[in-house]
């Protein structure tokens, strides 16, 4: 599929205020608004769930239906301040619970400590829902244990619990304790979760995701009802407006299809309760990375999708490690190459070259150049419009690079590290070295029952671009960069690793099967 062709890509909606708020709008135009590196894979998934639930709430039958890139699709999330106050701003509860057995007294004491929290919620409703204060405290304690690890932020408003169901889903927030207002915090939900939702809904079989997620959003689900018990009556109000300014340029894209295919495969295993999340999360983040890399490669003029040469960590420095480092670094540079290519292409456009050659005054040339650059890239110089075109382009490139440094340029390294795909273990450079957890997720996702090992390797390459063995390496690398023996050893290490995790069965003549321990056929 040539996703770059006319008609598949659409500009951002003209009504969107996002471009106007950006210093420059190129990486967004190419990849979307926005891919945010500081979002962890779980935050990505949480944001995704919030968005999916919002659309499900609006109309269950059109959840996961594809929506055009050039329109805005507003929706509402929830802040659920009452629940969050109980979970995270509730310091006295344990002390009060341990202090006595007098439930009445405990309630009274506790309610006093909660005065004014949760933007003025009256927590008295809890008294009627629990037979004793102790029970209430126990449940809160249990739920708190499922708080997701969030490396960066310890603010109580940045804490999220495990998404048991719709009542446990809430948007990121910043409280202003002084004036009691609450607003969105774009650090945790950086829009990439919404991008993930868009990817899934535009995937070829996206509509099939409706049913499994609808089950998850059913408020009658037992664990969800537990959370609902704690929730304040106002918590259900969808009070967090989203204008729908998130933007994903492509209507169709092979990465979208692969994402949906993988998620459906995971659901098909019928894992109990929400165990599937442990696999949906890393796979989701992986496909966001692959989407960005694949798009960047195409924009940079590469003929083939990027390969990711993976090392199974060897006891000492091996040839594959070198190749893997190079592969990682090459991929890491793809987005910047794509941005450069976009600016290069602009510079070659007839209108621009004509402007450079035109017989006009310098001032007018600068003016018109500034117009063109602003119209195409939304870039305006702070100093005004006097810059010569050549310098203007140079400044543009610099601005793009700086923004890329902290934005789209970090997505690959950040996500790959967090899902266990990349690490610097055993060396001082980052490279692709999938950990056990990710390997297991890949097996569970790609092997429905049992798959011959060589086929498994071929599938990993075809589906994700992952290179482990000599056959795929030969296809992916230049002959000068290829050492069959080293990749054979790498493949053997992968085989041994999978066997030690109980995921591989060996037969004679070097034939082995990868086995999914959760396949529904026993």
């Amino acid at each position: 599929m040539n996703f770059l062709m006319q008609g598949n890509r659409a500009e951002v909606a003209s009504a969107s205020g996002a471009p106007g708020q950006s210093s420059v709008w190129i990486e967004e135009a190419l990849f979307g608004h926005r891919l945010w590196p500081r979002q962890t894979p779980w935050m990505l998934f949480l944001e995704f769930l919030n968005v999916a639930e919002a659309f499900h709430r609006a109309d269950p039958d059109s959840a996961f239906a594809p929506r055009g890139p050039d329109a805005m699709h507003p929706y509402k999330m929830r802040f659920r301040l009452g629940l969050r106050a109980i979970l995270f701003s509730n310091d006295e509860m344990e002390r009060i619970a341990a202090a006595s057995d007098d439930s009445e007294r405990q309630w009274t004491d506790w309610l006093e400590t909660m005065q004014g929290l949760g933007t003025g919620t009256d927590f008295g409703y809890l008294r009627d829902r629990f037979s004793s204060f102790r029970d209430f405290a126990e449940l809160v304690g249990l739920v708190r244990q499922t708080t997701l690890e969030n490396e960066s932020n310890r603010r109580s408003s940045s804490r999220f619990i495990f998404p048991f169901g719709v009542d446990a889903l809430y948007s990121d927030a910043i409280y202003n304790e002084k004036n009691g207002t609450v607003s969105a915090d774009f650090n945790n939900f950086g829009r990439t979760g919404e991008i993930l939702y868009m990817m899934a809904s535009r995937g070829a079989r996206g509509a099939e995701l409706r049913a499994p997620f609808a089950l998850l959003f059913d408020p009658e689900q037992p664990k969800n009802r537990l959370i609902a018990r704690l929730s304040a009556p106002n918590d259900d109000n969808p009070d967090r407006d989203q204008k729908g300014e998130t933007y994903l340029p492509y209507r169709e894209h092979p990465a979208f299809n692969r994402l949906v295919e993988d998620w459906l495969a995971i659901f098909a295993l019928g894992l109990p309760e929400q165990d599937a999340f442990a696999h949906l999360v890393p796979i989701g983040a992986l496909h966001v990375v692959l989407y960005q890399l694949e798009t960047a490669a195409a924009l940079a003029g590469r003929a083939v999708r990027p390969a990711l040469v993976c090392e199974l960590i060897a006891p000492k420095r091996e040839f594959v490690r070198q190749r893997s480092i190079i592969s990682y670094q090459d991929n890491d540079s793809l987005t910047l190459r794509a941005l450069d290519a976009a600016i290069d292409a602009f510079e070659k456009e007839p209108e621009w070259t004509a402007l450079l050659g035109d017989e006009v005054s310098d001032q007018e040339r600068s003016d018109r150049a500034a117009d063109m650059v602003e119209s195409r890239f939304r870039y305006r110089e702070k100093a005004g419009r006097g810059t010569a075109p050549h310098d203007l382009i140079a400044n543009l490139r610099r601005e793009v690079e700086e923004k890329h440094e902290v934005g789209a340029g970090r997505v690959h390294s950040s996500y790959a590290r967090q899902i266990g795909l990349a690490s610097s273990r055993g060396t001082n450079r980052m490279r692709y070295a999938p950990n056990d957890s990710l390997l297991k997720t890949l097996v569970i996702t790609r092997v429905s029952r049992r798959l011959e090992f060589k086929r498994f390797l071929a599938d990993l390459y075809e589906h994700y671009g992952l290179v482990f063995g000599e056959t795929e390496a030969r296809a992916a690398l230049d002959p000068v960069e290829f050492d069959a023996a080293a990749f054979e050893r790498n493949r053997a290490r992968l085989e041994a690793r999978l066997a030690s995790m109980g995921l591989l069965q060996r037969l004679s003549d070097g034939c082995a099967f990868v086995v999914n321990p959760f396949s529904t056929e026993r």
Partner: protein, 619 residues
């Protein structure tokens, strides 16, 4: 290598020279059958042969006189006797023994058989890889045609031709996997199912599927050993007793006598049985290799003795270098060579001699001098008529005990101690009340595994409830993540988020140890085909989730039950046990769909047992 020209060697020398070809000397795998038959002819002795366990099955399946004719696939790893079985069948049906003598080595043969419904053709494919393309090569029309005909014979009614096919299991899979779309693909899923589910036949298919790697190692071992020690050529010990190579001082003689001692045989049989229980299959070829290495192995040269080496060792008094106990574990070979053979990889995995207990080491090191241990030392070690007290070890021991600052003595002493532990391992018997041989291996609970689990299941006796209790305790600790007691019920718990949460303290259900009137409980059975006990968790009547209880998993659960952390011993076992939990819980949720259970937290009581505390809420 050259052996003395047959004309000049004594029968005994020829016998040893011939036996060497079964040992771990350099040879390429694919040529083994040819090498052995060539060697047999050159030495004028018959090959080592015993009745193959699957001979009876073949005799029954293919008996044209009685109107029984079907297709047969013989599969397994190299060295399981596929070719021999085919050759024997060929001989039985045609009277032609040219295959068995090695004269005829064609990949293909055909015989016309008269049956009650007319003449039928039986094709023999002696080596399947000769009829399929190499990895990555294209299929020729002929090759595809043969497999099409095979499929028709198996699946369509009234076949006029039948096939007997010998194929390595890997090759079988690769071939059917790579069949082009134009071929008859009906057989492929059937073969894959039969292979992975260990089925010997399939509904609607005229096919006998014999996977020889499913043969019990213990059964093969018994047959091989009986065959070997029963050979008439051992008369050389009488006829040539003057030759030091065959006299009473010869390590070969000692090893031969030891191999027949009941306690050694039993210990070896136990090891073979435990290999089966761990899912390790040892091929016939490698069993013979193990036995020959046991008899003729020595530390030096190429690792396998010739007659002249035997004489040398006797002369120098270095019989201990060829000691059976070390040979059986491949200690006479370099590590690289040992690693090449599956049987030694498995046995090395037992880590015999590398594990120990204080009591056992005390016996070895101080037993000779200690009043309490002396009688045991004598009956177990000193009285060994063949390899009695090892003077080398005595010297090392003294050096170690007397050395004050010198650390160099330690390593040598340690190596010597390992050898002594191995000797003790083979000399202890199962009913020894004071010492447990399995403590010298990594599978400390192997004794209980064999006696209380394997033994009970085979005899049809109920398994000791105390053993089941311990297993359940192991499960409880891994599944709940809590290091508490819980011997009387199997607890199904979950975390609030993941069912596989490391600490799962939300109580869902408890399964009793014995089947109750709801059909809920734990039971054990024995899988005859895979030679492994199976543990069943029944949630209700008529349903259960099963876990093959390999020795490895058993050991893991026992260790956890006794206090080891679940993350120790074996990561693979930990993953297996957690996967089993997911399967059991999947069943639980499926059965309980739509029902709510009271929310209870599992805690540890003061007595170390589990207690549940209800929260007055429902889940």
């Amino acid at each position: 290598m050259s052996s003395p020209a047959s004309g000049h060697a004594t029968p005994g020398e020829r016998w040893i020279s011939f036996l060497r070809s079964y040992g771990p000397i350099n040879k390429s795998d694919g040529m083994f059958a040819e090498t052995v038959s060539r060697q047999a002819k050159a030495h004028g002795v018959a090959q080592l042969a015993f009745e193959h366990p699957e001979t009876a099955t073949l005799t029954e399946s293919i008996d044209p006189g009685e109107g029984r004719l079907t297709n047969v696939i013989l599969t397994g790893t190299a060295g399981d006797g596929k070719t021999s079985l085919c050759n024997a069948l060929w001989h039985r049906l045609t009277g032609d023994d040219s295959r068995q003598t090695g004269q005829n080595r064609d990949n293909y043969g055909r015989v016309q058989l008269a049956t009650s419904v007319g003449e039928r053709t039986l094709h023999f494919i002696f080596e399947f890889s000769g009829f399929t393309p190499e990895q990555g090569q294209r299929w020729t029309a002929e090759q595809v045609d043969l497999l099409d005909r095979f499929a028709r014979s198996v699946l369509d009614p009234d076949p006029v031709e039948y096939f007997v096919v010998a194929a390595n299991d890997g090759k079988l899979v690769q071939a059917f996997d790579s069949l082009p779309d134009t071929a008859d693909l009906r057989l492929k899923p059937i073969i894959e199912t039969m292979l992975t589910r260990d089925q010997r036949s399939h509904e609607g298919a005229a096919l006998q599927f014999l996977n020889l790697s499913r043969m019990a190692t213990s059964d093969l071992f018994e047959r091989a050993l009986s065959c070997l020690v029963g050979r008439p050529e051992w008369i050389c010990f009488e006829d040539e007793a003057d030759d030091p190579a065959f006299g009473a001082q010869s390590p070969l003689y000692k090893n031969f006598q030891l191999l027949q001692e009941p306690r050694i045989r039993q210990r070896l049989h136990a090891l073979a049985e435990l290999c089966d229980s761990n899912g390790f299959h040892v091929s016939i070829r490698e069993i013979l290799l193990l036995l020959i290495n046991g008899l003729l192995g020595y530390k030096g040269g190429d690792g396998v003795m010739r007659a002249d080496v035997l004489r040398e060792l006797v002369c120098d008094g270095r019989q201990h270098d060829a000691c059976l106990y070390d040979n059986l574990l491949g200690a006479n070979l370099s590590e690289a060579r040992r690693e090449r053979f599956a049987v030694f990889r498995f046995l090395t995995g037992f880590r015999i001699g590398l594990e120990t207990s204080n009591a056992l080491d005390a016996l070895l090191v101080f037993g000779q001098d200690d009043a309490d241990l002396q009688p045991h030392h004598r009956r177990l070690l000193a009285d060994d008529p063949h390899y009695g007290v090892n003077p080398g070890f005595a010297r090392l021991r003294d050096a170690y005990l007397e050395a004050e600052e010198d650390r160099s003595a330690v390593d040598e002493f340690h190596a010597g101690l390992i050898a002594e532990r191995r000797r003790l391992f083979f000399r202890l018997t199962d009913d020894d009340l004071r010492f447990d041989a399995w403590q010298l291996s990594v599978f400390q609970s192997a004794g209980a595994y064999r006696a209380q689990l394997l033994g009970a299941l085979r005899d049809g006796r109920p398994v000791d409830p105390a053993l089941i209790s311990r297993l359940v305790q192991g499960f409880n600790r891994v599944w709940t993540g809590m290091l508490a007691g819980g011997l009387d019920k199997l607890y199904l718990t979950t975390g609030l988020d993941f069912t596989t949460a490391r600490v799962s303290d939300l109580y869902l259900n408890a399964v009793p140890l014995e089947l109750d009137f709801n059909g809920s409980g734990i039971s054990l059975s024995f899988d005859e085909d895979r030679h492994v006990p199976i543990l069943h968790v029944h949630l209700r009547q008529g349903e259960d989730t099963a876990l093959p209880l390999t020795l490895m998993r058993f050991e893991f659960l026992m260790r956890v039950a006794h206090g080891a952390l679940p993350s120790s011993f074996s990561k693979e076992c930990y993953e297996d046990i957690i996967s089993f939990k997911t399967r059991v819980l999947s069943d639980f949720y499926r059965i309980n769909a739509g029902r709510s259970v009271p929310l209870s937290i599992l805690t540890t009581g003061a007595d170390g047992g589990f207690a549940t505390r209800q929260l007055g809420l429902r889940l």
